[in-house]
Structures are given as structure tokens and as C-alpha cells.
């Protein structure tokens, strides 16, 4: 096993070990100890990833991909799926992001979760999540990918429902899981199709024979896989679970529902780019879905009052950009945005977490206001995150978002439409982000904030929380400098062997895009300042539009009517009309009728011995008649 492979295994197994240890130790480990253990394990993971990254750097770009198999995980006939890891630039990048951001957030949790009475469970879940996410990104075949895919869904379920005595949390967790199960199912179907067409499920094998497949097959397969991606990444139409998922503790939202898991869909699109390139219809579809989602989510975010929900919708919207990017073939840019987004979105969530923590769990921005004085460092962190999100130069979001938009500009007509949509999204992003910031941190303190803001004299947050936020703030600022349009692009080059981009924007296009989008973003911030800080502009009332937005375009209601209620009604009807009367009823009816026949047959047994003799006689008569007649 090479050094890279070894580090990949260490990276993968370290959090799993921690999760199992915490689970098995039970009460024998202190709550704090569980946190330390989980944090250590994720840092070990990160360390291993860094070591692996460094040794991979030393290799020739074309020889950076390596498959390492522990054992055959599943085998049946000619079907075989190994417990195999694929270490290549793409997965290495994801490992770094996941373990890096993951370890910071787990560390943050030590402070955030302090005092919760089920801390141990929380850290076990978190470590388990990191393991699952690493499995997802490291797997070398579709089956293991699906396994990781499902396990992150499980971890997400467990963590959303962490406060299990809250019915809303439990419902949200179930919803997240079921919607992801739909995605898992379509993915599984796609894998079946690919296996029967190509005879293998390894990435190499499938990609190698993708050319030989018919359009229908490859389109169907790509659609199925896209279903999984959409569900996981909360894109329309499988987006409704993500806002509800904010029921989970804030670090969970940061890690799972912002930085890592929800971007798995993007990873999938990039990872499977040979398939999507063969099925360009589906690839375009993915881009369109991304575009629609980024607008819709941006609009909904405008009317949300829960601080976490605002960020959640912004996550959907940003993932829309990534889908857009991956859909037009700008893989490097999509992954780049994925990374920077992981930084600044994690930062936003963690900062929001400090706010919530400080307000004893309050999440409604209308109950905040004027927190800038009370939580200055948090304010700055939040501001950095918000600016990065809005794409303001020179923060990370600026670089990555612009490179996606530039790539769109570089494409054909279809791509240019998407470019325009993206620009609208930029405006919306700036608007809702700064609405949130102005409402939460600017203005007067609300009555609630005055009453509940706890004493911050000994610091805004414990060290573990502050440190994580600080690191992420720095990353949000500098993370984008890895790639400067037209100047240097080590990031895209790194990914080149795995996913060569389909479009290369010219330097002019890059500059134009940057200028336009920066202008639009600033305009958005300015408008937000006018409305929510200076309050010189009054938002038009538009009650209809507002209701539509507050009901999130009625997706929940639609699904309720379309799926849940029919399923429920069918189940009830089956129970009432099939199960009880027919399936079990038939048994009762049979038994009753046989018993009745028995009762009837004993009526003959009258006790009159003459009738006994008569039966004898009659039987004889019949027998004799038959014999003589039949002879």
C-alpha cells in the first residue's frame, strides 16, 4: 500500500473509530472527553489528508489516481463491489475540505454543546458523519458511493433529530431522511442500469465503457444519479427538507447542511462527469435546476426570519451556482465554489451559532437587533462571511462565484441565459444576506435581546468556538486566492486529470463578469442598507407574493397532497378494504362456514337408532343401484 493509500485509510477510519469508541464506552467516558476524542479523530483525519495531499503533490499529475481495496464488500455472480478507496485529486480535495472544515466544526461543538445532557451521543454522531462523508468522497465504485451517500443521510437524520423530544425536530429528521431515500432509490436504479450495461460498478470501468452505451441508457442512468444529487443537495424539486433540517444544532447545520453533505451532489456531478458529458441533456438539466434553485431559494430567503433558515436558503442558492457550474462543464469552478462556500458558509453558521448561543437558543432575527456591540467579534466574523457570500472583492466568494459565471458567459446561448440568471442571483444574495446582518446586528436591540442576552463579560464564546470561527474567517478571506481568473489557476490544474473543464472563459470574459457581478452585489447591499438599516425605502407590501414566498412556493403542501396523503389514504384503504375483510376475513369466513357445516352434519345424528339403520339401508340401496347400473 502506498503512502497515499495509507493516509486515505487513516483519514477514513479515524472518525469511525472515535464514533465506535464513544458509543461503546457509554458512561465510562466524560462528556467533555467524548468531544475531545471526536475532535482529535477528525484532526487526525485532516492530518492524514494533508500528508496524503503532500505526497500526492510529489507525483506526476497523470499518476495521482490510485485505487486501494481492503476486501470484496459485495459479490454475486459477475457483480462485484470492493471496499475500495479511490484516491485522486478530486477525492483528495474533498477529503481536505471535509476533514478540515469538519474538524473545525467538531472543535467548535465542544463549546457549543457544553451542558447538553447527551453530548456523547452528539459527538459520536458527528464523528460518524465525518466518516460517512469521507467514505462518500473516497469510494472507488458506485455501490460504495451509494453506501456513503446513505450513511451521510443517516448521520444527517440522527443529527437533525438530535433534540428528539421536539416533535418538529423529529419530523424534520424524518423528512430529510425520506427525501434522501428517494434520491438513494433513483441512484440505485441508475447503478443497476449501468451495471447491466457495462458489467461493472467501478468508476474506471463505467467511465471506460460509457462511450459504448446508447443515448437512452446513458440519459436514464444520468437522470437517476442526478436524482440522488438533487435530493442530497436540496435542489428543486427535492429541496424542502433542508430548511426544516435547521432543527438540528447549529454546528450540525454548519457541517452537514452547509459545508459538506449538501454539496455532495456537486461532487457527484463532477465525479461522474464522463457520464454527464455523454448525456448532455441531463447535464443541461442539472445546470437549469441549479439556476432555478438559486433564484427560488434567494427569493424565499428574503422573507425568512429564522437566522438559520436564511443561511439555509442561501446554501441552497449557492449550491445552485455549483450545479450551474458543473452543468455547464466548469468542474474546476464548481469545486472551487464548493470549497470557498464550505469556508464562508460554515463561518456564517458558526457565527450565527454564537449568536444563538448568546441568546439562549433564540433564532428569530426580529428578536435580535443591535448585537454588534454585544458580540463585536462575532459581528466581524459574520460580516466577513456575508461579504464572501455576496461575492465582494477580494473575499473568497468573489473569486469562485465569478469563475462560474465567467464560464457561463463563455458558453453558448443556453449558458448565457444561465449567466443572466446567475447575475440575478448575485443581487438576491447580497440583498438577503445583508437583510439578515442589518436586522440581527444593526439597529436597536429588541426587547427579547435586552432581556436574554447573557453576560458576555468573559468573552463572547469559549475558546473552541472562537478559534474555529477565527480560522474560518481567515479562510473565507484568503480561500479565494488559490485561483485568480486568468492569472493563476492551480486549483483547476489540480483537478484537470479527473475533470477537465468543458469551457474555458477568456480573460476578458473573466474581467467583465467580475465587474458586473461586483457592481450588482454592491447594489444589492446598498438596497439592503436602504431598506433594513436606514429604513428609507419601504418594501412594497405585495401580500400575495409574500404569502407564496413564506409558503416556500407551496412545495411542502404540494408534496403532502401528492404523495403523503395518497399513501396514507391508500394504506388506510388497504387495511379497511383488503386486509381486514379479505385477507384475514377469508380465514374467519372459512372457519365459520366449516364449523357451520360441522354443526349441520351432526343434526343428522339424531340419536334415533332407527335412522341409523335407515342410513345403512339407504347406503346399501345406493351402492347396489350403482353397481347394477354401472356394471
Amino acid at each position: 500500500m502506498t503512502a497515499v493509500a495509507t493516509t486515505a485509510w487513516i483519514c477514513l477510519l479515524s472518525p469511525l473509530t472515535a464514533a465506535l469508541l464513544i458509543a461503546l464506552a457509554g458512561n465510562r467516558i466524560t462528556r467533555r472527553g467524548a468531544g475531545y476524542l471526536a475532535t482529535t479523530s477528525t484532526f487526525v483525519s485532516f492530518g492524514a489528508a494533508v500528508v496524503g495531499f503532500l505526497s500526492m503533490l510529489g507525483e506526476h499529475p497523470e499518476e495521482r489516481a490510485e485505487v486501494t481495496t481492503a476486501w470484496t464488500w459485495l459479490k454475486a455472480g459477475n457483480f462485484e463491489a470492493g471496499l475500495s478507496l479511490l484516491v485522486d485529486p478530486l477525492s483528495m480535495l474533498m477529503m481536505l475540505i471535509v476533514s478540515g472544515v469538519g474538524s473545525l466544526i467538531v472543535m467548535y461543538s465542544i463549546g457549543y454543546m457544553d451542558g447538553e445532557d447527551e453530548e456523547r451521543r452528539y459527538f459520536a454522531y458527528m464523528a460518524f458523519f465525518v466518516f460517512s462523508m469521507l467514505l462518500l468522497v473516497e469510494s472507488a465504485n458506485l455501490v460504495l458511493l451509494l453506501a456513503g451517500w446513505g450513511l451521510v443521510g443517516l448521520a444527517s437524520y440522527l443529527l437533525i433529530g438530535f433534540h428528539h423530544e421536539r416533535p418538529s425536530a423529529v419530523a424534520a429528521a424524518k423528512k430529510a431522511f425520506v427525501m434522501n431515500a428517494i434520491g438513494d432509490a433513483t441512484m440505485a436504479l441508475a447503478i443497476f442500469l449501468l451495471f447491466w450495461q457495462t458489467g461493472t460498478v467501478t468508476f474506471d470501468g463505467v467511465f471506460g465503457s460509457v462511450d459504448g452505451l446508447s443515448d437512452t441508457v446513458v440519459t436514464l442512468a444520468a437522470l437517476g444519479l442526478l436524482g440522488g444529487a438533487i435530493a442530497k443537495s436540496a435542489q428543486i424539486p427535492l429541496q424542502t427538507w433542508l430548511p426544516d433540517a435547521m432543527e438540528g444544532p447549529t454546528p450540525v447545520s454548519a457541517l452537514i447542511h452547509a459545508a459538506t453533505m449538501v454539496t455532495a451532489g456537486v461532487y457527484l456531478l463532477v465525479r461522474l462527469n464522463p457520464i454527464y458529458e455523454a448525456a448532455d441533456f441531463v447535464q443541461h438539466l442539472a445546470a437549469a435546476i441549479g439556476a432555478v434553485t438559486l433564484i427560488v431559494a434567494g427569493l424565499i430567503a428574503l422573507v425568512q426570519n429564522d437566522i438559520k433558515r436564511v443561511i439555509a436558503y442561501s446554501t441552497m442558492s449557492q449550491i445552485g451556482y455549483m450545479f450551474l457550474g458543473a452543468g455547464i462543464g466548469a468542474y474546476g469552478s464548481a469545486m472551487f465554489h464548493l470549497m470557498t462556500h464550505a469556508f464562508f458558509k460554515a463561518l456564517l453558521f458558526l457565527a450565527a451559532g454564537i449568536v444563538i448561543h448568546a441568546l439562549l437558543g433564540e433564532q428569530d432575527i426580529r428578536n435580535m437587533g443591535g448585537l454588534r456591540d454585544a458580540l463585536p467579534r462575532t459581528y466581524w466574523a459574520m460580516l466577513v462571511g456575508g461579504l464572501a457570500l455576496a461575492g465582494i472583492f477580494p473575499l473568497s466568494g468573489f473569486w469562485s462565484k465569478d469563475s462560474i459565471l465567467a464560464s457561463a458567459l463563455a458558453g453558448g446561448t443556453y449558458d448565457r441565459i444561465l449567466f443572466v440568471v446567475g447575475l440575478v442571483g448575485v443581487f438576491l444574495t447580497a440583498l438577503y444576506t445583508f437583510r439578515m446582518l442589518f436586522l440581527a446586528f444593526g439597529g436597536e436591540r429588541s426587547a427579547y435581546a435586552r432581556e436574554h442576552l447573557h453576560d458576555t463579560s468573559h468573552g463572547e464564546a469559549p475558546f473552541s468556538m472562537g478559534a474555529a470561527v477565527a480560522v474560518l474567517s481567515v479562510l473565507s478571506v484568503v480561500g479565494g486566492w488559490l485561483q485568480v481568473a486568468g492569472v493563476w489557476h492551480p486549483f483547476s490544474d489540480w483537478l484537470e486529470p479527473v475533470a477537465a473543464p468543458l469551457v474555458e472563459p477568456s480573460t476578458t470574459q473573466d474581467w467583465v463578469t467580475s465587474l458586473v457581478s461586483l457592481t450588482i452585489a454592491l447594489a444589492g447591499i446598498w438596497l439592503a442598507w436602504l431598506i433594513w438599516s436606514k429604513r428609507s425605502v419601504v418594501v412594497p407590501e405585495l401580500p400575495e407574493a409574500r404569502r407564496v414566498l413564506e409558503h416556500k412556493f407551496y412545495f411542502d403542501e404540494l408534496y403532502d397532497r401528492l404523495f403523503y396523503r395518497p399513501a396514507d389514504a391508500i394504506a388506510r384503504a388497504l387495511r379497511r378494504d383488503v386486509e381486514e375483510p379479505i385477507v384475514t376475513g377469508s380465514i374467519n369466513a372459512t372457519v365459520t362456514s366449516v364449523r357451520e357445516a360441522g354443526r349441520a352434519s351432526t343434526l343428522v345424528q339424531t340419536g334415533f337408532l332407527r335412522s341409523y339403520a335407515l342410513a345403512l339401508m339407504a347406503g346399501l340401496a345406493v351402492l347396489a343401484v350403482l353397481f347394477v347400473a354401472l356394471r
Binding site: 364449523r595 343428522v604 339403520a613 345403512l616 346399501l620 356394471r631
Partner: protein, 488 residues
């Protein structure tokens, strides 16, 4: 000058031994004081039957080839001797069951003597090979049984059952006699083999066929096959339980073996007709026996209906009219007889404990109070269903195989449905034994007497039921040798 025919005493000895036992028992019951009668009579009856059993086995061993004895009035063959072994065995076990029976009976000596005599009559009848000896053998054991049924003369039901059995039985005998007369008239022969010979020439002679119908009726009556079964529940219920046990096992052996012999020896040329008729009777028995048993509360009565349904099962292989069928029947009789005896034995024990008729209600909780007897009864019930480890499992398999072999798959289907229905009432017994929550034991005054002989009988029957499941091949060899003496 009259030349008395040579008499094969050895061949007759299995019959004579229990008869001798009965005579001694009868004489002793006159001479001995009250207190000793029971022991002496039971002892000699048992010894006679045991000796008969041993002698039958010996004759079986010594008679690989069938031959007629005493001017062909009877046969010395393995079919007869195997059936004699079963009957004698049933008799011995019945003595064990009856040992404590009827404590107030004054005619206890006669009771055991008659039991032994009835067994001897049956043992004779299975070897009888002409119409006259058949009829006489039939009357021999029937009259003994009439008396035995009614022997508890203080009990109204016993008398009622005796009278019913007597009248309906005599009615059946009269029909059988008339049938014999017609057969004799049609063929000019009394000996079964000769009738068979003459029958081949006659084929479907109407006189012979009406005679055959009457013979089937008469024998079906004894086997308690529907629609000739109606006496069975009443008589089984009313008779002393030990007698019922004996009847259910031994009478069935006798009637079915005789039916097998008569049909295959005397009417081989009419097989197409009687095979269908027997099949129809089997179906009727299966239907009526199982359906009527469903609603019974009195356990003896339920077992009576169960015996009707088993008659149906056993008629299936007879209808097949093949050697496999004969084997199947002979095999089936062994575990069936044992299970039936055993089941009635347990009922007898319960009855003596409660001093009232045993019903599903007052059986409740017996499985826990009397672990062994309850367990045994449950095992018999399971065996009757045809569940392993009871020999009836193999018995049903063989019977169905015989039917399939003879292209009578429909009979198998009927048998299968009947078994499914029978599950219900057999399980009702087990439910009463173990699963009633309210333990309504009617105290019969202290602990029940320890009945060592009855328990031993139950142990033996249970052993036979289980052993017949395990050691199928030896039993099948026995049955096969016996069947081959019919010359299929």
C-alpha cells in the same frame, strides 16, 4: 366313514390362547372370592392374549407361504397373523386400561373373559376364509362386544349404547348374511378363493354385484365408514371407555383387514366397481367424520368421529387395490390402533379421576396436573393430525402414495382437505390440556389412584406411535410380507 380333516393346531393356536385365557378367567371368577376375581381374570386374560400375540408372531414367522387350514375354512398366512398380532396387542393393552375399570362391577371376571373372547373372535375372523366362518367370526366378536358395551348395566348410557349397537349391528349382520347368500348363490362357493375363481367367469353378474354391495355395507358398518357409521359415536360414547378403546383399535383392524382380504380374494374381477365404491365411502367418511367432530365437546364422542375419519383414510389404500395400498393399510393400522388406544386410555384415566364424562371443558389444565398423561394425549392428537413424530405421518404418506400410484389423485386432495379440517378439533384437545386459563379441575377426592397398568399401556402405545415413525422399514417389511399373501 367320516374323515375328520387334519387340523393345523399351530395356525389356530393364536386364537385358542386368548380363548383359553378367557375360559380360565371365567371359571376362576366362579370359584374365587370377590377380592381376587379382578386380579385373576385380568391376569389370565392378559396372559392368554400375550401368548396369542407370541404365537401369532411365531406363526407369522413360520408361514412364508399362505395355505388353507381345516378344509380351507381359514387361512394360515401372514396377513392373518399380522392382524392377529395387532389385535392381541390391542387386547393386552386394553386389559391394562381396563384394570381399574368399573370398581363396582360384579361381573368383573366375565368382563375380562369377554374382552379376551372378543379379541379371539377378531383374531379368528381375520384368518377366516369362507363366508360361513367369516360370518361366524363376525358374530363371535360382535356379540361379545354387545355385551361389553352394555356391561355397565347401572349406567343408562351404557345400556343405550349396547342396545343401539346390538340392533344396528344385527341389522348390519343380517344385510351381510343376505349378501353372503347372494354371493354363494351366484358363485356356488363359500370359500373366498373359489368365489374369486367363479367370479372371474361371472364378471359383472348382477346377483353377485348386489351381494357385493351388501358385503361392502356389512363390512363398512364394522369399520364404521360413512354412511354406515352412525352407530359409532353413540356406542363409543356410551360404552365403558376401555371397551371403546378396544373397539376403536381392534374392530377397525379386523374390519379393514377382512375387507382387504374379501375384496381382493373374492372379488378381484369386480375391482373396477368396488374400488370406486370404496373410494366414495372413504370420501364420505372423511367428510362426515371430520365435520361432525368439529362441534363435539365430549371427548369420547369426538374421538369416535375421528375414528370415522380415519376409517376414511384407511379406505383410501383399499380403494387403490394395489400391493402398495395393502401395505399402506397394514402399516397405517399399527400407529392408528396404538394412538387410538392410548387416547382413550387417557380419557379413561381422566374419567375415573373426575367420575363424570370427559369433555373439552373438564379436560382443561390436565396437561399441567397430570404431566405424563396430558403429554401423551397431546402427542396422540398431534399424531392423529399426521404430524411427526407419529407413525400416522408415514401412514398418511403411504396411503396417499397408494392413491397416487393408482391414479386417484383426487382422493389425495380430499384426504388433504379433511386433514386440514381435522387440525381444528385435534388442536382443541391440546388447547384444553394446556391452554385454558381457568383451571376448573373437579376434585375427585384426593389424588387419583396411581394406575400403573394404565400408565404402562399409555407408555407402550406412545412408544408404538413414535417407534412406528422411526422404524418404518421393519414394519413395512412385515406389512409387505402380509400383503403379498393376498397375491396381487
Amino acid at each position: 366313514m367320516i374323515d375328520t380333516p387334519s387340523i393345523d393346531w399351530l395356525a389356530l393356536s393364536p386364537v385358542l390362547a386368548p380363548l383359553a385365557g378367557a375360559t380360565v378367567a371365567l371359571l376362576l371368577s366362579v370359584f374365587l372370592p370377590d377380592g381376587m376375581r379382578r386380579a385373576a381374570a385380568a391376569f389370565f386374560a392378559a396372559v392368554g392374549l400375550l401368548v396369542g400375540l407370541v404365537l401369532a408372531a411365531y406363526v407369522y414367522w413360520k408361514s412364508p407361504d399362505a395355505q388353507g387350514i381345516v378344509a380351507d375354512a381359514a387361512r394360515r398366512d401372514r396377513l392373518a397373523t399380522l392382524a392377529q398380532m395387532m389385535i392381541a396387542g390391542a387386547g393386552v393393552l386394553t386389559v391394562g386400561i381396563a384394570w381399574r375399570d368399573q370398581p363396582r362391577q360384579e361381573h368383573i371376571g366375565e368382563y375380562f373373559a369377554l374382552l379376551s373372547t372378543a379379541a379371539a373372535g377378531m383374531m379368528f375372523m381375520v384368518s377366516a376364509s369362507n363366508l360361513m366362518t367369516l360370518f361366524l367370526g363376525l358374530e363371535w366378536f360382535s356379540i361379545s362386544l354387545y355385551v361389553l358395551c352394555a356391561i355397565d348395566i347401572e349406567l343408562e348410557t351404557s345400556l343405550e349404547s349396547g342396545l343401539k349397537y346390538l340392533i344396528v349391528g344385527s341389522f348390519g349382520s343380517a344385510i351381510l348374511l343376505f349378501g353372503f347368500a347372494l354371493v354363494y348363490g351366484a358363485t356356488g362357493a363359500l370359500e373366498l378363493g373359489a368365489i374369486g375363481q367363479a367370479g372371474r367367469a361371472l364378471e359383472h353378474d348382477s346377483l353377485l354385484l348386489v351381494g357385493l354391495a351388501m358385503v361392502l355395507t356389512g363390512l363398512g358398518f364394522k369399520a364404521s365408514a360413512a354412511p354406515f357409521h352412525m352407530w359409532t359415536p353413540d356406542v363409543y360414547q356410551g360404552s365403558p371407555t376401555a371397551v371403546t378403546a378396544f373397539m376403536s383399535a381392534a374392530t377397525k383392524v379386523t374390519a379393514l383387514v377382512v375387507m382387504l382380504r374379501v375384496l381382493n380374494t373374492a372379488f378381484p374381477a369386480q375391482e373396477d366397481l368396488w374400488s370406486g365404491a370404496v373410494a366414495a365411502i372413504a370420501v364420505a367418511s372423511l367428510a362426515i367424520g371430520n365435520l361432525a367432530a368439529l362441534v363435539q365437546r365430549n371427548v369420547k364422542r369426538m374421538l369416535a368421529y375421528s375414528s370415522i375419519s380415519h376409517a376414511g383414510f384407511m379406505l383410501i389404500p383399499i380403494a387403490a387395490a394395489t400391493e402398495l395400498g395393502a401395505k399402506a393399510l397394514l402399516y397405517y393400522l399399527i400407529p392408528y390402533g396404538a394412538a387410538s388406544l392410548g387416547a382413550f386410555a387417557v380419557v379413561a384415566a381422566r374419567e375415573r379421576e373426575l367420575r363424570e364424562p370427559v369433555t373439552l371443558d373438564n379436560l382443561s389444565g390436565m396437561g399441567w396436573e397430570r404431566p405424563f398423561l396430558g403429554f401423551a394425549l397431546a402427542m396422540f392428537a398431534f399424531a392423529f393430525i399426521g404430524l411427526p413424530p407419529g407413525g400416522l405421518f408415514v401412514g398418511k404418506l403411504l396411503a396417499f402414495s397408494a392413491a397416487v400410484d393408482a391414479d386417484m389423485i383426487w382422493l389425495v386432495i380430499v384426504g388433504v382437505v379433511a386433514t386440514a379440517v381435522s387440525v381444528y378439533y385435534y388442536l382443541a384437545i391440546v388447547r384444553s390440556l394446556y391452554m385454558r386459563t381457568e383451571l376448573r379441575l373437579v376434585p375427585a377426592g384426593g389424588a387419583p389412584p396411581r394406575e400403573i397398568l394404565l400408565t404402562a399401556s399409555v407408555v407402550l402405545t406412545l412408544g408404538i406411535v413414535v417407534a412406528s415413525f422411526v422404524f418404518v422399514q421393519p414394519l413395512l417389511d412385515l406389512a409387505g410380507n402380509a400383503a403379498s399373501s393376498l397375491g396381487f
